[in-house]
Amino acid sequence: MPQQKNDQRKKGKSRRGGRPEDTSWIDTDKVVNRAQRIVSSAVNVLEEEIAAGILAAKRIEKKLIDVEEIRSNPDDLINRIRRDSHEALDLYIDAFASVSGKLNTIIEALKSDPAEKPNTTGNRSQKQKPDAVVLEPDGPLKPGESCTLSLIVYEDNVGASGKVSLRKSDLVGPNNQVVSQRAITIMPKTLMLKGQVEKEISINVKLPRRVLPGIYNALLTDIDNPLIRMILAIQVTQ
């Protein structure tokens, strides 16, 4: 196979007398834009494939475990979610309704004066309220580290469909330390949910390098359905 002729892009001519090559013809912005387009297109492919892989793994896991048994008990479901939150977090829309009440309690407790904080030692009425949905990685993160949590959403009703668009807040930590919401990336930002079809939302948290140790919480809510709420909890250690 013959050698290809000169690269068409090499238009710069070297000059005599050791002068530097004239590179003024290069449109830097154009080159940077082209590079950005190529790299970001590659990144999208990678992110899609990773999300698809997690979803496929969870589907296999679902086949291997008795999902209905776990679903039948909201407490067990939440415990399982907590145990299993290392990479992929199984969270179904049918669980949202049962846990959102508890989440309200937690949020109200966070807002209120500590003196008015409800008794958390656990009484019967407290226990009857559903648990809060807390998304958290397997273990604490160090400054500069990142983690990805996967949220699998599922619409039980065959004919139903809907849109899920998660909104995020800043991560608020000790002494009102704030990690900007820019540290949280939700992919995809919006997804259409059809009946009995699982979809996955990937939540990536990239901590700044100078974040102080402590527990940071952010609130994730669905723009169109404020009853769907979650707390994203990240523990930072040095």
Binding site: Q3, Q4, Q8, A35, V39, S41, A42, V45, E48, T148
Partner: protein
């Protein structure tokens, strides 16, 4: 670190891995049609890129060559088994300047040797339990499981495109295919596994996905370019073989989307002809069209941008890793990709 030093280190890690492979090949019958053939491809002098990445990353993260060696052996055995099967699937004639396994023997024997190498690759992974403990060994096992499955998926995509003579592919299709077919097993997993071993499981391997992907994609595109423009003896395979095989390279995909309808019909007709019946003159014409439409230049540019992105990822994730020869080695591999001339 300069290019010569980098290649010497790569060769050193490759030789170490080759010795390890030898110790896992059973000394028993059937020799002539199985065990003697297992060492054939590894002994042909491959670059040892995957073991090199794994060992160097492990050492950069504080581990030792000994700790990474079983994993490196497993990676290299799997890589060579993929090559044997790949050559059968592609009807290739040469591999590293020698007839492919199925050309030197036959397809049935070649497939069987590949299967045996797959099975043998499990042994060193199992030995990781004693060397690194159950938890890390299990993590590495799952890394390999994912790696092999992704590779098979990528190969399925490409073989399916060829079977259906798919001529409407776009760049993202290609990027997805090489992510699956090449990047996971050539770069992403070797780096991830090296980091897991070296850090004793304390490093999150996910953070190396982009680095490995950009490196692997750049590497694959460069390999595809070399298939068109390299010196045959140095390259070790037939030049232009990818065009003859109808391989959906970035250059071919670029050409298909930029050429005139008449030229598109010519290429489509060419790709419908069975591989062994394709004419070299037609392959030359397609190569010439790639030049006319700047497809090779486009692929070179894409490869350099991806290598640049890999370098940025490397600095992001290795900046906190103490300086070492192995860290410099990894950096120099990426710099080599950026500065590579054809």
């Amino acid at each position: 670190m300069d290019e010569i030093q980098m290649k010497q280190m790569l060769a050193g890690y490759g030789a170490e891995t080759l010795r390890g492979i030898g110790s896992f090949i059973p000394n028993k019958e059937p020799g002539k049609y199985l065990y003697d053939l297992i060492a054939d491809y590894p002994n042909r002098g491959g670059k040892g890129f995957r073991p090199g990445l794994c060992i160097a990353t492990c050492k950069a993260f504080g581990g030792t060559l000994k700790e990474a060696k079983f994993t490196a052996v497993s990676l290299e055995l799997l890589h060579n088994s993929f090559l044997i099967h790949d050559d059968v699937e592609d009807d290739s004639f040469y591999r590293r300047n020698k007839p492919t396994m199925h050309q030197a023997n036959n397809k049935a024997i070649a497939i069987n040797v590949g299967d045996a190498m797959n099975a043998l690759s499990m042994l060193p992974l199992n030995r990781n339990r004693e060397l690194l403990g159950d938890k890390i060994a299990q993590q590495l096992f799952l890394e390999v499981q994912h790696m092999v499955l992704e590779c098979a998926e990528g190969q399925a995509l490409e073989l399916g495109w060829r079977k259906d003579n798919n001529c409407s592919l776009v760049k993202t299709d290609y990027m997805r295919m090489i992510l699956k077919k090449t990047c996971w097993y050539t770069c992403i997993h070797p780096i991830r596994m090296g980091a897991i071993i070296g850090s004793k499981g304390r490093t999150d391997p996910e953070k190396f996905n982009r680095l490995g992907y950009f490196m692997g994609a750049s590497f694959q595109i460069q390999d595809d370019i070399l298939n068109l423009v390299a010196d045959e003896e140095k390259y070790g395979k037939e030049i232009g073989g990818d065009i003859l095989e109808g391989k959906r390279t970035l250059m071919l995909i670029h050409l298909l989307s930029h050429c005139q309808p008449r030229e598109l019909k010519f290429i489509k007709d060419y790709l419908t002809v069975p591989i062994l019946d394709r004419k070299e003159a037609d392959a030359r014409e397609i190569f010439s069209l790639m030049g006319k439409y700047g497809s090779v230049a486009y692929a070179k540019e894409t490869s350099k941008y991806l290598a640049g992105a890999a370098l940025k990822e490397f600095y992001t994730h290795f900046s906190q890793v103490p300086d070492s020869v192995d860290k410099a080695f990894l950096e120099s591999i990426i710099l080599y990709m950026i500065n590579r001339n054809y």
